[in-house]
């Protein structure tokens, strides 16, 4: 369970928040011209990385404001929280804790079936 620091209200329990999925997804331009495949990409497909992930949260039982977050999905560690109009922090600012795309971090994975 996460402790999330709302940029407007401060640290609060995760149960006050709702997750909004991937952040920085842009609706494609030229909705009349683009193909079904491009529409499908926009409607259905989202990144699903193991490791560093940009995502949105909303403080639904608090100030009801949206904000962005960088979280490590392999450990659930929250690395940075920033407001919607702040620039997207580059990936190189953060340490990636896994060596291979589907590897396990040394601490915090919860997976005991894999030899580290």
């Amino acid at each position: 369970m996460l402790l999330i620091e709302c940029p407007y209200c401060g640290p609060r329990d995760q149960s006050e928040f709702s997750n909004g999925g991937e952040a920085h997804v842009k609706r494609p331009d030229g909705s009349q011209e683009i193909s079904d495949r491009e529409w499908g990409e926009y409607v259905f497909i989202r990144s699903n990385p193991k490791g560093l992930f940009y995502e949105r949260w909303v403080h639904s039982h608090g100030c009801r404001k949206w904000f962005n977050c960088v979280r490590d999905t392999s450990t659930d560690e929250i690395l940075k929280i920033y407001k919607l109009d702040d620039p997207k922090p580059p990936l190189k600012d953060f340490e990636n804790k896994i060596q291979t795309p589907s590897g396990e971090p040394d601490v915090g994975s919860g997976n005991f079936t894999v030899k580290k």
Partner: protein
């Protein structure tokens, strides 16, 4: 040599203190080249290798697994098996699987402990009643045994259930008598053993790291035990499928989330069927050891940590205690999370893709265990023939371009 299990083999091995049972499968080092490599040594992957060898005559097959066999979601679910899905496409797929389950112990000569004790889906409000009755009718049209139970009939079958004195009273239920539970390890081990006998190489502690392609064609897979060339690769890695697909430049419509379950201390037989409730979100069955096996929901956020948030357990236990006050003072022994890959329409993907020789069997989300043999069977067909079986034709990747989704959020029963 074909390993046979019978009462005589048990008696014979009892004399030597059960120390001389033969190994169930070899542990070979990977060869340089395989006709087909299956990534993921869970039930679906091992079953795929089994049916590829048995029904399609492929000989040179490998299954590679990052951890141990069945240590992923095959060993991390609540083992509920049913086929009462709403739409024709899914009903055919899950019913195909249920029919294979019914004969699997005989076919594999390995007891998968399939117990057809029935599965009940509770209705807690007017809308549930209408939805469930609609689904029962759809099931009956597809030849699936599914029936409506009144509150009185439920009370008779599960006398410990509190049907009236709770916030969302129990108003009725659907019941599929042929549904039930099975032993999670046995399905992986049974498939593994029989696949191994037909020459399939099962390679554990071998992590797939990158799927290599060249000119739109599959080349092989880089693993922690070196590069292995292959003509065909089937990815059956549940929560990690999209991560592997990404290494081949393919984006899949999947989101990975932890799904939790927990097990209580063992008690004497108290509940002899499977009871599921989507509305208050608690489902329970009792294992042969006497433990209550309780399923919780998924976390709201993407994660690959195999534990899940505590708030999810709290919600599930709250619903459990309200529905079965008699369980109020029980202790829970174990809790775990499995990483499930959820599709936007809560239906699986069993499909080829733009890369020649690369196949995906994923998106089973919160309900893949019941489909293990059926999914493996049609996926083997898809890999061998390079085109889908008529049962899985609707579950192609192309449905996220055409928009012809198979929306099973209602029948999936687990909230996500």
């Amino acid at each position: 040599m074909k390993k046979k299990y019978s009462i005589f083999s048990i008696a014979r091995n009892a004399f030597s203190g059960h120390k001389n049972w033969p190994k169930m499968w070899r542990s070979p080092e990977p060869r340089e080249f395989y006709d087909a490599i299956i990534i993921g040594g869970g039930g679906h992957g091992l079953g795929t290798a089994y049916y590829l060898a048995k029904e399609h005559g492929l000989k040179n097959i490998a299954v590679i697994e990052k951890g141990w066999l069945g240590g992923g979601n095959t060993g991390r679910n609540t083992t509920i098996i049913r086929s009462n899905y709403l739409w024709d496409d899914s009903a055919h797929l899950y019913e195909h699987s249920l029919k294979l389950w019914e004969n699997l112990s005989q076919e594999l000569n390995y007891n998968v402990m399939f117990s057809q004790r029935g599965v009940m889906n509770l209705a807690h409000n007017e809308h549930d009643i209408k939805e469930i009755k609609r689904r029962i009718s759809a099931n009956n049209l597809n030849g699936i045994d599914s029936q409506w139970l009144s509150k009185e009939e439920i009370q008779k079958m599960v006398p410990i259930m509190n049907t009236d004195n709770l916030r969302y009273p129990v108003l009725g239920a659907s019941f599929q008598p042929r549904g039930g539970v099975a032993r999670h390890d046995a399905i992986a081990w049974g498939f593994a053993m029989r696949a191994d006998e037909m020459g399939v190489d099962i390679i554990q502690n071998c992590e797939a790291q990158k799927i290599r392609t060249k000119n739109g064609k599959i080349e092989g897979v880089e693993t922690s035990k070196g590069f292995i060339r292959a003509n065909k690769i089937g990815v059956v890695a549940s929560g990690h499928t999209s991560v592997l697909a990404e290494t081949a430049g393919i984006r899949l419509p999947l989101q990975s989330k932890p799904l939790q379950a927990l097990v209580s201390e063992p008690i004497k037989p108290i509940i002899d069927t499977v009871v599921m409730s989507a509305a208050v979100h608690a489902y329970v069955s009792q294992s042969d050891k006497g433990e209550l096996v309780i399923g919780a929901g998924t976390d709201s956020y993407n994660s690959f940590t195999q534990r899940g948030g505590f708030n999810i357990i709290e919600e599930t236990i709250r619903a459990m205690v309200e529905l079965y006050p008699v369980f109020g003072k029980m202790k829970m022994l174990r809790q775990w999370g499995g990483i499930v890959d959820i599709c936007p329409d809560a239906s699986p993907i069993i499909s080829k893709c733009d890369v020649e020789g690369l196949f995906f069997n994923c998106g089973w989300g919160t309900g893949g265990f019941k489909a293990t043999p059926g999914s493996a069977n049609v996926f083997a067909h898809t890999i061998a023939k390079n085109e889908p079986h008529q049962i899985n034709a609707a579950f192609s990747l192309n449905r996220f371009v055409s928009g012809k989704l198979v929306d099973e959020h209602g029948a999936a029963a687990v909230a996500h």
